[in-house]
Symmetry: C2
Subunit: 347 residues, 2 copies
């Protein structure tokens, strides 16, 4: 129990209100509101007077007050499952954020960052999000069995995903052309004369992993080569997983002369294992990764990798979400952005 209430609530300088602007401009509140919201039904004279008053007072609308009546918050949440946050190579995360931020800033929207630590938090999140009345939700790294997106859809919260859960993703989402990227990687290996090309996949319950594997298959088939199951080893996007998978691959097929890894981190594990087995990269075995992350540039030898247009993906996510907020039922759309092969020394 507090002995006495804090005196002087706090040192806040009371900011000017719309009322103050109206008084100074000699018009009614309605008119000021119209000017601020760009309504056309205001005379030039009033508009100028209001504008002058706004400038003079340094008036900035109070978001809470507006939000209370419009039932909008002009803010969206970016949900990042904690686990993924580590798993995914960092450029992925920060690149997308940068794009999202840029796309949102233009629309005067705020970005709420929500890191989700554990399952318990995750479960309560849907209610939380709809109660906070964010206008929309951006989700990073959804798993195929993720139900949060469905709940958000039920609650009619506009949602856009980074990546999709599976083939017929009903929600709006943005993803890189994983299949195409993988294809171009394998084609590059083929063009380099490699013939026994293995691949280390990601967890196959993730769409990205599936898509990249599919691209690998397509490239081989297009080249008239047979897809051999023992050249395909499942990894988990980690470095240790990459090492382990590479060892397995070498055991099965010691003559392998190239590897396409579904992530750079995996690839770096593979390179380590190759070196441990006395093989040289790329002379004996060529390696290509995916993501063009920091490690790609820094491992020895520098890694050829598939780059995703991260910032553009982020911007696109923002745009899609804004569209959906503007007119719900605009239909959830999926956007696929092209990838690019960055050739370095490993292949």
């Amino acid at each position: 129990m507090r002995p006495a209430d804090p005196p002087a609530r706090n040192a806040d300088v009371r900011r000017p209100t719309l009322n103050a602007v109206a008084a100074l401009a000699g018009v009614g509140r309605g008119t000021v509101s119209r000017v601020i919201n760009g309504s056309p039904k205001v005379s030039d004279r009033s508009r100028a007077a209001v504008q002058r008053a706004i400038d003079e007072l340094g008036y900035i609308p109070n978001r809470a007050a507006r939000s209370l009546v419009t039932q909008r918050t002009d803010s969206v949440a970016l949900v990042v499952p904690e686990a993924q946050n580590r798993l995914f190579s960092e450029p992925y995360f920060s690149g997308i954020i940068r794009g999202v931020s840029a796309g949102l800033a233009g629309a005067g929207m705020q970005l709420l960052l929500v890191l989700v630590r554990d399952e318990k938090e995750y479960a309560r999140l849907a209610t939380y999000l709809s109660a906070q009345r964010v206008d929309g939700v951006l989700m990073m790294a959804v798993h195929s069995d993720d139900t949060l997106p469905d709940r958000l859809e039920e609650l009619a919260v506009p949602t856009v995903l980074a990546g999709r859960r599976g083939d017929g993703e009903p929600l709006g989402h943005v993803r890189a052309d994983n299949g195409g990227g993988a294809r171009s990687a394998v084609e590059h290996l083929l063009a380099g004369g490699r013939r026994t090309i293995g691949t280390i996949t990601g967890p196959l319950d993730m769409d990205v992993a599936q898509a990249r594997l599919e691209g690998y298959r397509e490239a081989l088939e297009k080249a008239g080569l047979e897809v051999q199951d023992d050249l395909i080893v499942q990894g988990d996007f980690t470095e240790d997983g990459g090492r382990w998978a590479m060892r397995e691959l070498l055991r099965r097929r010691p003559e392998v002369d190239a590897v396409f890894a579904a992530s750079d981190v995996t690839a770096s594990g593979a390179v380590l294992e190759l070196r441990a087995s006395g093989r040289r990269v790329p002379d004996d075995v060529a390696v290509i990764g995916f993501d063009d992350s920091i490690v790609a540039r820094h491992i020895d030898p520098p890694l050829t990798s598939v780059r995703q247009p991260l910032e553009e993906m982020g911007r696109t996510m923002a745009r899609l979400l804004l569209d959906e907020i503007e007119q719900r039922g605009a239909g959830h759309r999926g956007v696929v952005l092209p990838t690019e092969l960055v050739v370095r020394e490993s292949a």
Copy 2:
């Protein structure tokens, strides 16, 4: 009575209000408010009734409405200058964010992410922030000539910085023990029998760079060695800067047998240059970096590096900010957190 019900404003399901809870619980609005805010002046009977009604309706308070009257937003902004966002090794950024998020979540505070692209945006930011009425501001990576913090202080916006601008930083801030970290790195090199130890610094207008350089000096002096100016080369935290600085260092002192680099990225550049000059790491020249970033683990050889307790730094920032919001004038405090030397193969 209103003539007719509002014509379904939009597809939003109208969430229950405090009024609805009061009606269902058979009490007044004031009582419900008291229960929600944990006031002791409520009878157990009322409290129970209200609690039941809340659960039944799934009531969650409307932040905007509350914010309007309390003049608080229960949200803080995390400001990240865009340039730094690239410059700083990523674990730094994401580690701190994770800590901040954890620290804030406990207090029911929201985290607003604000990336600042260019100078123009930056200039308007102070006004913007105080107008948005965020309760406080967290700033990443301030430069020593940064004036935004000062403006925020003027505007009486509670602020906590990651790192400090200089020696007598007036604002609350959290930083790693950069000097101590550098010292332990150099001591490790000395313990390994190295005697001609060079250092590649960061931009010396940044406090971290200064502090790390100072630690280098102290360690040498403590060991009774002379600090030789030509063993100190200024870098810029980039890889290229590291290469260039290493080349310069080799030119000045070809017999150098160890290098302490002020960042891992710098160190990785140095390693590249050392190898290009035909030297082996660590056999001929030992190298230690700072940050324990991803690249530290992935370059060849794996880099010995100084780790900062990033997540704890984030949590501490959150706590400091919360304190300052709670009672302004609690005095801006600086907190220094210990670092840890992670020994790998490069030294």
